[in-house]
Amino acid sequence: MAVVFQGIGAATAISSTNASVSTRMPFSSRGSPSGGKASFLIVRSDGRLSSGSNSRCRRADQLITNAVATKAESSTASTSSKPGHELLLFEALREGLEEEMDRDPRVCVMGEDVGHYGGSYKVTKGLAEKYGDLRVLDTPIAENSFTGMAIGAAMTGLRPIVEGMNMGFLLLAFNQISNNCGMLHYTSGGQFKIPVVIRGPGGVGRQLGAEHSQRLESYFQSIPGIQMVACSTPYNAKGLMKAAIRSENPVVLFEHVLLYNLKERIPDEEYVLNLEEAEMVRPGEHVTILTYSRMRYHVMQAAKTLVNKGYDPEVIDIRSLKPFDLYTIGNSVKKTHRVLIVEECMRTGGIGASLTAAINENFLDYLDAPIVCLSSQDVPTPYAGTLEEWTVVQPAQIVTAVEQLCG
């Protein structure tokens, strides 16, 4: 993986040193995609490598500079050696899904229109033709029921991925998700496990109306027994999809309606990300901005303005919504002493509200100012374009908030 090679030996001219670099690598990707205990690389958000299993990974001894975009936001180094390939976010999700389906025959997909139609956002396009329509299953319209079906299948040994056509529809599946998915491993005394992945697009789109603009992460965050992650780039979408499928716990993967067509160059090699880790998007000194999903892009846009105004924001995409990566977040708070949370959830009871409480509880001594949380208002998302725009946090608001926070 190009960016990985970058750090070893601090080589800048990558192409010529490829061969020698690879021999110095302690972890070689011996693993084959098709099953078995494959050895593969887990790239941590700060660029460090770990090998092997999908559960907690050890901190590698190797110091590698940031794998993800640095201040200069350049991935130009990656293009000169092994370039990887460019694709859109929904294609990255599909690639991750396909690789996992190749690797493990127990992985299957179920949802509305996921089969020959390829999914309403084309995440499962082509999979039914490849794996058959039993493994990529079209279901009737009954979210509670196909989620229940996935739970039953998981308890019997399969690894299903449930696609909600829109996250908002999964409110109908709340009973199965809360009472069964999150609980049955516990109440059965560990006898039955539920390795399901529940995924789908959510968030505020472009004039989709209130029912199709739900932020379900608010409602689900209390359910014990599940994990929640939100992807925001093609790179982390593929990595998180693979990690979620390999996890033995039920995972809810939040995608965003407006991010499906983001393009990025991702590595050719296999990689799996850590479900519980946050991603350092832009290191900085003055203020910690915590965000996830679509708001990451609003924050980065605001960051450009802020940099021009002389501020140095540290931007972290928290990625893991349940549990929070308080290690990465804490380190950042200890460095900058100021926190701004930018989210799409409603003010009341959202991810921001929980995160504010968690940071206050754990890092109060390190804060120089109260935590500021920018979120949507407690209103159903209106249809009219201008009204809708006013309910979503905009870059200008983020700039103002940082200016006020930093003085």
Partner: protein, 469 residues
């Protein structure tokens, strides 16, 4: 006129052969036409009109039909979903079949076999095992109920009146079949080998409970017995059963899924979707409805207005049967036949058993408040399923009064002992509060566990001293 009409109908039939498979011989019986369900309709229809022979010379007739089609009164038309015959009679389908769907029974009220062939298929060993298990279940229910009343366990649910349903249905299955129960099916687990001690451990929530003390009493679960852990919300197991069946289907296993539920559960959305899904997925599930007349205090008239649950099967395209729930032999034979069909044909089947819930809904209920005591008495004695089966095995010379009293005494003794042992056994330790929420205990839960341990250490007087940490 008659001949012309018949000829016209014949021509209309041939036009829809375009949907059938192309290789047709001159005198092929047409059974399969287009959509599968229509095929079954053609095969099973009592009307002979739909069954006809095709002749070689039909080729020319195709054209003939088409050119005439505008003028002919078409009897059928192509709609999405298949070909539908027309009628000029405006007839509403009745909301209630008259007569009602009959109930399959093998032994009459006095234990005489009406269908000797079926009765003869059961061996003495099987019959005695079934009988003994029914009695064990009855005694277990009585003793645990008493234990709850004495305050030794917090809650209990009996299967009084439904012993035949529990044991016989389990006897008709194989141990590989997956069971997704509601909560009144402890007998199924008993049949599969769950011991009285294991039952007691779960009810007392001690450290030997497979659920590690996390669920209410009677919420049994045992993966080695293929009995999925009971979850209180009604009917949630129905779509899960379809998922489990889907899993079996992908593995091609010689096993099916059986899911139990009551009459009340058929009102839940999950019942509707579960049956629908099973039919569409062609999932090998037996949907077993215990229609016992009461959903806590809600009688059937307030639950649904259909002719019971069996008629709902056809609404979803699911084959169904109604069985006498107090007749152990009928249930046994019906379940065995259903299992055969479910596995070989890969289709769901709905079995509605009619019975009566003799006990209260649970220990939190007093059913004499909403139904007459003599009705309960009648079903508990005159219509008792155990007594009925006993008459049959007595008459066969397989069981004596002596056997009865010995068996009852043994079971009672074993059970009382199991309860004492379970009561004295330790409760699960504090560490089990935080395990199994996830695959491995995450840092935030570890933190919460530490806080709790600190608290317990600081204030030992506020916490039970006989529970390990």
């Amino acid at each position: 006129m008659g001949l012309v009409r018949i000829l016209c109908r014949r021509l209309c039939r041939t036009s829809f052969l375009r949907h059938a498979t192309s290789s047709i011989n001159s005198t092929t019986e047409i059974g399969v036409v287009g959509h599968r369900s229509l095929a079954s309709a053609c095969r099973d229809s009592p009307s002979p009109i739909f069954f006809f022979r095709r002749f070689e010379s039909t080729e020319a007739q195709f054209q003939h039909v088409y050119s005439d089609s505008e003028d002919d009164t078409q009897e059928t038309l192509d709609y999405p979903g298949g070909r539908i015959p027309f009628t000029s009679q405006m007839r509403f389908i009745s909301e209630f079949p008259e007569p009602r769907i009959p109930c399959y029974r093998v032994l009459n009220e006095d234990g005489y076999p009406i269908v000797r062939k079926i009765a003869e298929q059961m061996t003495k060993e099987e019959a005695l095992k079934i009988y003994r298990s029914m009695v064990t279940l009855q005694i277990m229910d009585t003793v645990f109920y008493e234990a709850q009343r004495q305050g030794r366990i917090s809650f209990y649910v009996t299967s009084a009146g439904e012993e035949a349903i529990n044991i016989s249905s389990a006897a008709g299955l194989s141990p590989d079949d997956l069971v997704l129960p509601q909560y009144r099916e402890a007998g199924v687990l008993l049949w599969r080998g769950f011991t009285l001690q294991e039952f007691a451990s779960q009810c007392f929530g001690n450290k030997y409970d497979y659920g590690k003390g996390r669920q209410m009493p009677i919420h049994y679960g045992s993966n080695k017995h293929n009995y999925f852990t009971i979850s209180s919300p009604i009917a949630t197991q129905l779509p899960q059963a379809v998922g489990a069946a889907y899993s079996l289907k992908t593995d091609g296993k010689d096993a099916c899924v059986v899911t139990y539920f009551g009459d009340g559960a058929t009102s839940e959305g999950d019942f509707h979707a579960g049956l629908n899904f099973a039919a569409v997925m062609e999932a090998p599930v037996i949907f077993f409805c215990r229609n016992n007349g009461w959903a806590i205090s809600t009688p059937l008239i307030d639950q649904f207005r259909s002719d019971g649950v069996v008629v709902k099967g056809q609404a979803y395209g699911v084959r169904s049967i109604r069985v006498d729930g107090n007749d152990a032999l009928a249930i046994y034979s019906a379940v065995r036949a259903a299992r055969e069909m479910v596995i070989t044909e890969q289709r769901p089947i709905l079995i509605e058993v009619l019975t009566y819930r003799v006990g209260h809904h649970s220990t939190s209920d007093d059913s004499t408040r909403y139904r007459p005591a003599d009705e309960i008495e009648h079903w508990g004695t005159a219509r008792n399923p155990i007594a009925r089966f006993r008459k049959w095995i007595d008459r066969n010379g397989w069981w004596t009064e002596d056997d009865e009293s010995k068996h009852r005494a043994n079971v009672r003794k074993e059970l009382l002992n199991a309860i004492q042992v379970a009561e004295r056994a330790e409760k699960p330790p504090l560490s089990e509060l935080f395990t199994d929420v996830y695959e491995s205990v995450p840092p935030n839960l570890r933190e919460q566990e530490e806080l709790l341990r600190e608290n317990v250490k600081k204030n030992p007087q506020d916490y039970p001293s006989n529970v390990a940490l």
